[in-house]
């Protein structure tokens, strides 16, 4: 038995590791020293018995505050979870080249960083969250009425967010910005946009390529009293390389073909020229490609269609991925994106539920599982399917006990209303 105890102890030691991360230890140090400075500014002198007594009293009060008000203090704190790590200060996020990764915030907001996306968190507090999208694509779901002001900078542009769901793409090389708002409202400013910038409502698509024409603004709107929904560009534009599209929120601006020999769609996609890549794929025969491409190629094509805003083609490629590569990781990923797209069409629709459930069946412990469970829990509550929502909340706590939505999951389980 003792041998087993020893092996158990060793296994537990291995699982636990040797302690918290250096970041946590540094935060502890800051907190301890700050509390000492606050409670006893005269501590710099000799520790006389009187001062020790004062320090004891102050530390006791601080301790009582820590213990007694721990819950309320935690409520005031805001943190993000990235790759299982808690993040409270400036940090860099870089999604792997192969798959997307999510940043979950404690007040319920989520950012999904698409593959190969780089972003930085500049500031995070109970009232403010400031990020920079350095390059790539973000799918953002920002909680409303949490008292947090969200801003995401992309190059010279700034996107100020009021509770909403939107996608934000920034191509650093081409200095191209694309904002598609699904829900709520955002304000885009900076760059070559004049004054306070532009307010976008749900359904709006905004595309801007700094230094050349690449603008389509099908349903941009201003807030009451504002004028000039599309401010004039600051610099004269060269001849159009892309056509502006005004046909609908999801209609992409399609690249104008040039006389020079064209690179293949894959090369264009790897250069992040997604609209050009999709146009090239259409030329090569999209229907044929989805039947013939390898798993990685088909995933790239689906993502290309998605990034270029062609949801129809994206869906076609994703469904084909599921049909041809059933059981593979890319098929599960396709289910996840199909769920997100279904959510855009109908926020509490059965299709989104079905696709998220499919994704979780196929990838119950994957990187995106927490996000899928949180989404599913929220959709099921919205649909009034309380029993299923409770089950999902229990699953969430089982798999992601420290996840950003753990508090919400607990409240679902504890709520008498959801028990009915």
């Amino acid at each position: 038995m003792t041998d087993y105890d020893e092996r158990f102890g060793q296994a537990l030691h291995l699982a636990l590791g040797d302690g918290p991360s250096p970041t946590t230890v540094a935060a502890q140090r800051r907190r301890l020293l700050a509390s000492l400075e606050r409670t006893e500014p005269r501590l710099r002198g000799e520790l006389t018995p009187l001062r020790i007594a004062a320090l004891a009293l102050a530390a006791g009060l601080a301790l009582a505050l820590v213990l007694g008000l721990r819950g309320s203090l935690r409520r005031g704190e805001m943190y993000a979870t990235w790759s299982g790590r808690s993040v409270q200060g400036p940090s860099a996020f870089e999604a792997a080249a192969a798959h997307p990764e999510s940043v979950d915030f404690s007040e319920g907001s989520q950012l999904l960083l698409e593959p190969d996306t780089r972003a930085r968190l500049l500031e995070l507090s109970a009232t403010k969250a400031a990020l920079v999208l350095e390059d790539g694509h973000i799918l953002a779901s920002i909680r409303k009425h949490t008292g947090v002001t969200w801003t995401i900078a992309a190059g010279p542009y700034n996107v100020r967010v009021v509770g909403t769901r939107f996608t934000l793409d920034w191509d650093r090389e081409k200095r191209a910005l694309r904002v598609a708002v699904r829900e709520g409202r955002v304000r885009v400013s900076g760059g070559d946009l004049a004054g306070d910038g532009l307010v976008l409502d749900a359904g709006s698509l905004f595309e801007r390529q700094h230094g050349s024409i690449a603008v389509s603004l099908p349903q941009a709107a201003t807030v009451p009293g504002e004028t000039s929904p599309m401010p004039a560009p600051a610099a004269p534009r060269p001849a159009a390389s892309n056509s502006a599209s005004g046909t609908g929120a999801n209609a992409p601006a399609v690249a104008t073909p040039t006389a020079a020999p064209e690179p293949g769609w894959e090369a264009l996609a790897s250069q992040r020229k997604y609209r050009e890549a999709l146009a090239s794929a259409e030329k090569a025969g999209f229907d044929k490609l989805v039947d013939e491409l390898s798993e990685d190629g088909l995933l790239l094509l689906a993502n290309t269609a998605r990034y270029s805003g062609n949801t129809g083609r994206a869906r076609q490629a994703q469904l084909k991925l599921r049909e041809r590569f059933a059981g593979r990781r890319s098929a599960a990923l396709a289910a996840f994106y199909l769920a997100r797209e279904a959510l855009d069409v109908e926020p509490h629709g059965a299709a989104a539920v079905r696709w998220f459930e499919t994704f979780l069946e196929e990838s119950p412990r994957g990187d995106l599982a927490a996000l899928a469970r949180a989404n599913l829990m929220s959709i099921l509550l919205g649909r009034g399917e309380n029993a299923k929502a409770r089950k999902m909340a229990a699953d969430y706590l089982r798999y992601h006990p420290d996840g950003a939505q753990a508090k919400e999951a607990r409240s679902v389980l504890e709520s008498p209303a959801s028990a009915r």
């Binding site: 537990l12 699982a15 918290p20 301890l32 520790l47 006990p401």
Partner: protein, 213 residues
């Protein structure tokens, strides 16, 4: 020993004492100097004491409490106690050993508090891990199962068990850290082993693992 709410002054002895696992060769001298610095300049002394013992205290609390969500608060409590009482040490060169004892006592008090809450307030607490715990779901599941098992040991048994089997400390060392005689430490470990054996028999998943080579 390990009485709730008391901070004991331990007369420490033994070959390991004063040479904490992360201490330097001249640790005792440095420790005495640290206490002196704390008396002279509280804030600078506090910073240096934290730097000197942060790794030791964090590791001890992390293992004893099982990477608990309240880890940071407990470490803060340990350092508050250390900073308040270090200047009263009869032998400042024993600071390293005393800091570890303080950490053990603080965790013990917390475990006792939790047991009382569970007993009298019927408070069912979910095992909540610190955000720094690995993201790997399988490892977390394993931790959850083992934590649930260890939670069921008494606070005293748990501390002796973890110090010996997880921290890998010799029984002599465990005895000094907990303020026991060696004989008491052996008895306590035997008691922890007995309880653990019973609990493992009731935990099918761990029982299966036991058969693995």
């Amino acid at each position: 020993m390990l009485e709730t709410g008391t901070l004991r002054k331990v007369v420490v002895s033994g070959p390991w004492v004063g040479r904490g696992r992360d201490s330097r060769a001249d640790g005792e001298q440095n420790d005495a100097a640290l206490v002196e610095l704390l008396q002279r300049d509280g804030v600078r002394g506090a910073a240096q004491i934290y730097d000197r013992f942060a790794t030791t205290v964090n590791r001890l609390v992390w293992h004893l409490l099982g990477a608990d969500a309240d880890h940071d608060d407990l470490v803060q409590q340990v350092f508050c106690k250390v900073l308040l009482h270090a200047t009263k040490l009869r032998d400042p060169s024993r600071l390293a050993a005393w800091v570890q004892t303080t950490a053990v006592n603080t965790v013990y008090e917390e475990l006792r508090r939790r047991q009382v809450r569970r007993l009298f307030l019927r408070e069912q607490t979910l095992v909540r891990f610190h955000p720094d715990v690995t993201h790997d779901v399988e490892v977390r599941d394993c931790l959850r199962r083992t934590s649930a098992l260890i939670e069921r040991l008494s606070a005293k048994d748990r501390i002796v068990f973890v110090l010996h089997f997880v921290e890998g400390r010799a029984l002599e060392e465990v005895a000094v850290l907990c303020g026991y005689s060696l004989r008491t430490a052996k008895r306590r470990l035997a008691s922890a082993n007995r309880c653990f054996r019973k609990l493992v028999a009731l935990a099918p998943m761990l029982a299966v693992r036991r058969e693995e080579p």
